[in-house]
């Protein structure tokens, strides 16, 4: 049974394609936590997130979202989640406002609340002046912001983001980061993957580093520094030390999760 204050509890999660993509993964993320899942390309980050949000069926393991068994009761779990992949899930022929109306409808929000929240989000993300333009003419950043608004409109308790800042310019990336921090401060649990380690370093409370579908290390940046034995290390140093692809290559560090 999951503890009530846990937003996400993953146990023994496995998924295999030709090779194991995720292998007996355990994760526990507290409510209101901002968690960064890092790893090299092909580490199994996206597969993990897609299993959490119910897009992929795991081969083994359990997933609980705020105490709800996501595999046994996917609809109740999905009601609490929002998923934002790196490629925005948008309809080119819809306007942002119509898109938000659609997403709100999917999550069965009442119309008045949805409309108010759509207005707020579009204002906040500076998309309000473009509310009646079709998304097909939007830049990559505007599309990502519209998709983020869609993810936030139903006020999810767990926000799952796969490379949310990928391809965004500095200004838009800043807007998105501010919005995410605001959500986290408001009690929303956030899990994100990113290749921009600086972002993870500044945004998240706790970091999990995976490679080949296995969790290598987990903890706050200070924890990871302490375990690595180098108190001045950046996240990049730790990451490269762990995944074994830093200058000098070699095997991954031995301190890993056991610490």
């Amino acid at each position: 049974m999951a503890q009530p204050h846990m937003a996400l509890q993953v146990r023994g999660l496995s998924k295999r394609y030709a090779i194991p993509a995720v292998n007996d993964l355990d994760l526990a993320i507290g409510a209101g936590e901002f968690y960064g899942l890092l790893g090299p390309n092909g580490a199994g980050k996206t597969t993990t997130l897609r299993m959490i949000v119910g897009l992929l069926t795991p081969d083994a393991g359990s997933i609980e979202i705020f105490g709800v068994d996501a595999r046994a009761n996917p609809m109740a779990a999905k009601q609490m989640i929002a998923w934002l992949p790196d490629e925005p899930m948008l309809y080119d022929k819809l306007t942002p406002l119509e898109y938000l109306e659609f997403v709100a409808g999917l999550w069965r929000m009442d119309a008045a609340t949805a409309q108010r929240r759509a207005h707020e989000l579009l204002e906040q993300l500076e998309l309000w002046p473009h509310r009646d333009e079709r998304c097909e003419g939007f830049s990559r950043g505007m599309k990502q912001k519209a998709a983020l608004a869609g993810a936030l409109i139903h006020d999810p308790r767990l926000l799952v983001l796969d490379e949310p800042l990928s391809g965004l310019d500095a200004a838009i990336a800043r807007e998105v980061k501010d919005l995410l921090l605001e959500r986290a401060r408001g009690g929303c649990t956030i899990i994100l993957t990113t290749h921009v380690l600086d972002v993870a370093e500044r945004l998240v409370d706790r970091i999990g580093i995976i490679r080949s579908g296995e969790l290598l290390a987990e903890g706050s940046l200070d924890d990871l520094r302490r375990r690595s034995g180098r108190r001045e290390s950046t996240l990049e140093d730790i990451f490269l030390q762990l995944v074994g692809t830093g200058r000098g290559g070699g095997e991954p560090a031995a301190w890993e999760l056991a610490a």
Binding site: G54, P74, K78, K93, F102, V103, R108, A114
Partner: protein, 505 residues
Amino acid sequence: MKTGAGSALWLLRHELRLQWRSSGITATVAIVAGFVLVLLHLVALPLAFAVRTMRPLPTGLTCELVTGGALFAFLMMMSTALVATVQAIFARGDIDLMLSSPLRPRSIILVRAGAVALTVGGGMAALALPFANVLGLVVTPRWLVAYPALAALALLATAASLVVALGLCRLIGPRRTRVFAQVLAGLLGTAGFLVTQLPNLLQATGSDAATRRMGDLLTGIVMPGPDSLTWLPARALMGEPLPLAAGLVLSAGLFALVAHGLAGRFIASMAAAGGTGSGRPRRRTTTRRFRTGAVSVMRRKELRLIARDPWLLTRIMQQAIFLAPLAATAWKHGIGNVPLSWLVLVLIAGNLAGAFAWLAVSGEDAPDLLSASPLRAADVLRAKLEAALLPVGLALLAPIAAAGCVDPWLGVTLAACCSGAALSCATLELLHPAPRKRSEFNQRAKGRWAIGLAEALLGAGWAVTAAGMLAFTPWALIGPPLLLAVPALHRLPEWLNGEPLATAG
């Protein structure tokens, strides 16, 4: 001639490769096509021997037949060329790359036009040349004039399509050109088929006096005397040296003139098309209240996406247009007083429903969004089915109502069988999705020929059921349950169990 990178030949090879790959023809299909070519030669043999033993036709009739054949070929080629031209000039995403490269812009236009001519000429040649080869061997070598004749027609059709595409672009802009060119191409194709039906239409064998009078009138207008200049192309195609040479020079000259002379204008249009932001401000909707209800917003979303993509709509409607010749052919046959042409509506219903259902299910732009939402797969599918069927109902309402005015039982029959065909074909698509981009609508049959065949058979099955109903035969009762059950048979258990959409795919 240079053949290295950057040369015209190199560019032509690149263009042809792109066209080949976008055609979706696989190695297997190419091998089958090779066999079909051989088969066509064999099929042409008995025809050739029959022609050899035939008494020569009167010159006037020969001219009429040859002109008809050439007109058919030209219209079909122009239909294909128009779509290919618009695709190559206004829709291909590589124009910035091409124009920013050190290639001469005029060469780009010339090569693209040449590739279009080769493609359209090649398609028609594959159908016509096997017959010309065999007739040339068995009857007279004059039949081999089909080779230069087809080349001339291809160049002419391409030149004409270039002019039309440019004219449309200047008149209505690059965005709308894609749509209008599509409609025009459909109409040209239909006109080509109707040309083949012209002899039937002109015979006026119907019992109706009005039809007879129309036939007489058409005969007077369409058929000039044997010495008329109208038959000059026919004489060229029959191998008369001077008209043939003149035709070849004229076609090649026109092609070169258009492709080279208008290159500057084409480049300007291409650049405009590349820079055209497809997004545009829409009517303000902010005062409209949000609506609620998951299934209702799903349905509305699907209908919006369909309504806002005129290019896609025209591609769908084009399929219906291509059934028009069938309706023309079937007009003279009937059950009682009811012409069989009405049954084409049943085929159209199935065809449209299949297309709209494909868009709603396989062409879903954000499947992950739906899968991640707390909505049951059955609800999603229900909304998509409704969204697919609604436009079909709207499109067919007027003709079915007209049929009901002509004969109430015909109206009832068509309403029932069109609904049935639409439901069967849409269900088939819903339960056998094959995710692709919406813009790849034309390639939706790729790799799923069995579904395409099943869709055609379901439509035909409902048309036969409609014929049975019109003939008041009890056999007509067998069709509906069978035709409704077939598409759902093997996915039904999963659907009823409410499996997620992701796994339903």
